[in-house]
């Protein structure tokens, strides 16, 4: 069953210079397209991960889904009960003046019972006594547990997690990833998991969407994506991940950087960095065919 559906969703941001400059210098309004015609579906009970480098639009997609931004074009449809969001920085997302008990109870203020808060704290691996403390008394990992307890308070069936472990040390990250997996199994949650870390994504995701420059360039089941990446950008990303097994495999160093969003390249946005680019790629934006947006893949060239 489809829980969430994005249909050709785009989002523009106004990056025009101030009005006076525009009048005096005869400039037009300028818009930056942060998300460009993204379509995807998330099924009930699965984890869909979005990966990509900074500025690729993955966090904007998360914000479009929870309604923090309105789409410029396209539609977001949600068939679930409630959604909640977990943020990256567990230091910035908890009010330092509130006791943990009040933070966790905030979404259920009207009907909250202290027993329910205790239950939530236990559920995320804290103790009911921790409810009387303040956020500064906890480490980063424990704070992220508090954020998760708060997110679960309203009994959501869908959680949007924006880089939930990026600010944590690796051993603490393991604790949080394990906790999220357990909660999903126990409560039947559906996750949208945003991350730049491919290894973390491989750990939690059922399906993975790869974003580049505002577009979804590849969408595939996790196992298939990591075993047989199709889009040249996905291949490049996987190639760039440091190799812990030290097989000493030869790596093609990745050339170039993400282009300037105010001066997008013509055709396929990846073409300046792509080893397979040809005339058509420079001219024509590739459509999504069979979950990959790439001329070379569609033409069977790679």
């Amino acid at each position: 069953m489809t829980l969430l559906k994005l249909e050709q969703v785009s989002r523009d941001f106004d990056v025009s210079r101030p009005w006076l400059n525009r009048v005096l210098e005869g400039e037009q309004r300028r818009f930056l397209r942060a998300v460009d015609r993204v379509s995807l579906e998330i099924r009930k009970g699965e984890t869909l991960a979005l990966v990509g480098e900074s500025g690729c639009g993955k966090s904007t997609v998360a914000r479009l889904i929870v309604g923090l931004y309105a789409p410029t074009e396209g539609r977001v449809q949600f068939a679930g009960r409630r959604m909640q969001m977990i943020f990256q920085d567990p230091y910035a997302s908890l009010n330092p003046r509130w006791r943990v008990r009040d933070i966790v109870a905030e979404p259920i203020k009207v009907l909250h019972t202290s027993a329910r808060v205790d239950e939530l704290l236990v559920q995320v691996g804290l103790s009911p006594d921790d409810g009387d403390k303040y956020p500064h008394e906890f480490s980063g990992g424990q704070r992220q547990r508090i954020s998760i307890a708060r997110a679960l308070a309203g009994e959501p069936d869908f959680l949007v997690c924006d880089e939930p472990t990026s600010a944590l040390d690796v051993s603490v990250q393991a604790q949080i990833l394990n906790l999220m997996t357990e909660l999903q199994a126990r409560l039947g949650l559906t996750y949208l998991f945003i991350s730049h870390n491919l290894a973390v994504v491989s750990q939690v995701a059922d399906r993975v969407g790869v974003m580049y420059f505002g577009r979804l360039v590849e969408l595939a089941p996790a196992a298939a994506l990591f075993a047989r990446p199709r889009h040249p950008y996905t291949r490049m990303l996987l190639d760039a991940v440091p190799d812990l097994s030290m097989t000493g495999k030869a790596r093609t160093p990745v050339a170039g950087e993400v282009p300037n969003p105010l001066a997008p390249p013509s055709g396929c946005a990846f073409h300046p960095r792509c080893p397979h680019a040809n005339e058509r790629c420079r001219r024509e934006v590739p459509g999504v065919i069979d979950d990959v947006a790439c001329h070379a893949v569609a033409e069977g060239r790679i």
Partner: protein, 317 residues
Amino acid sequence: MLEVSALSVQFPTRKGTLTAVDGVSFSIGKGEVLGVVGESGAGKSITGLAIIGLLEPPGRIAAGEVRLDGRRIDNLPYEELRRLRGRRIGMVFQDPLTSLNPLYTIGRQLEETILTHLRMDARAARERALSLLREVGIPAPESRYHHYPHQFSGGMRQRVVIALALAAEPELIIADEPTTALDVSIQAQIIALLKHLAKDHGTAVMLITHDMGVIAETAQRVAVMYAGRIVEIGAVKDVIHAPRHPYTVGLMGSIPKIGARKRLTQIDGAMPRLNAIPPGCAFNPRCPRRFARCLEERPPLLPAGGSQAACWLHDAP
């Protein structure tokens, strides 16, 4: 090249003295990359700062020695140490913007550094600055020369910082989380650059990072730090494939790997704060293999397989 022996760094506070680095010893040879890995608060950055004499007061070196090419550098007067930094030791920090002056063009900053440390005229300095920018992979250095730091992307800025660190051909580069703020594709480019420097210039590199993957790609040896001490040190392949200290074992198990997808090993709890380091082995409250001795006696580094581990499990009877 660099020899650190029994280095301790302390921070006196109102509530007593905190020991952030506790009896750390290691050496780095010419052309070698030594990785220093650990979680936040393990003391890895403080160790780097102590070596180059940039500890923020009231932090101070309480014991131990730092030798560069056989000569002691930890007790030099401020002026002498200042000349040493940049000339013989280069530094690269996590955030390139902290190392660059936003008001000067990068060309001017490079020229100034070169002229401060090397005997050269302005023309030769400019030539050298350009060739450094070319070497670190800045495209079209002639046209980028007069640009300001804000006109560069994060990856390009980090390249400029590396060019600055290299300006006077230092024998040692201390790189503190040089790739942490960068995207993975740019990170790969900077790793390749650091490796090439060590290999082709014979520069010794101390690479401080929390990312074991970066170490696996770059370093020959690795020191694992926990609560201010080195708990394991050895060749990267030994430490990664056959870790000997229970902390390193837990750390390796907690790193997600592409395609593996089994439950991650957890080390429960968190690293102790500096004011609450338990007696005996600092890792004992979290250690799945602790026994009576771990609660009382602090283990020194002991030979364990090809490496050394500070763990009583390796105390041969």
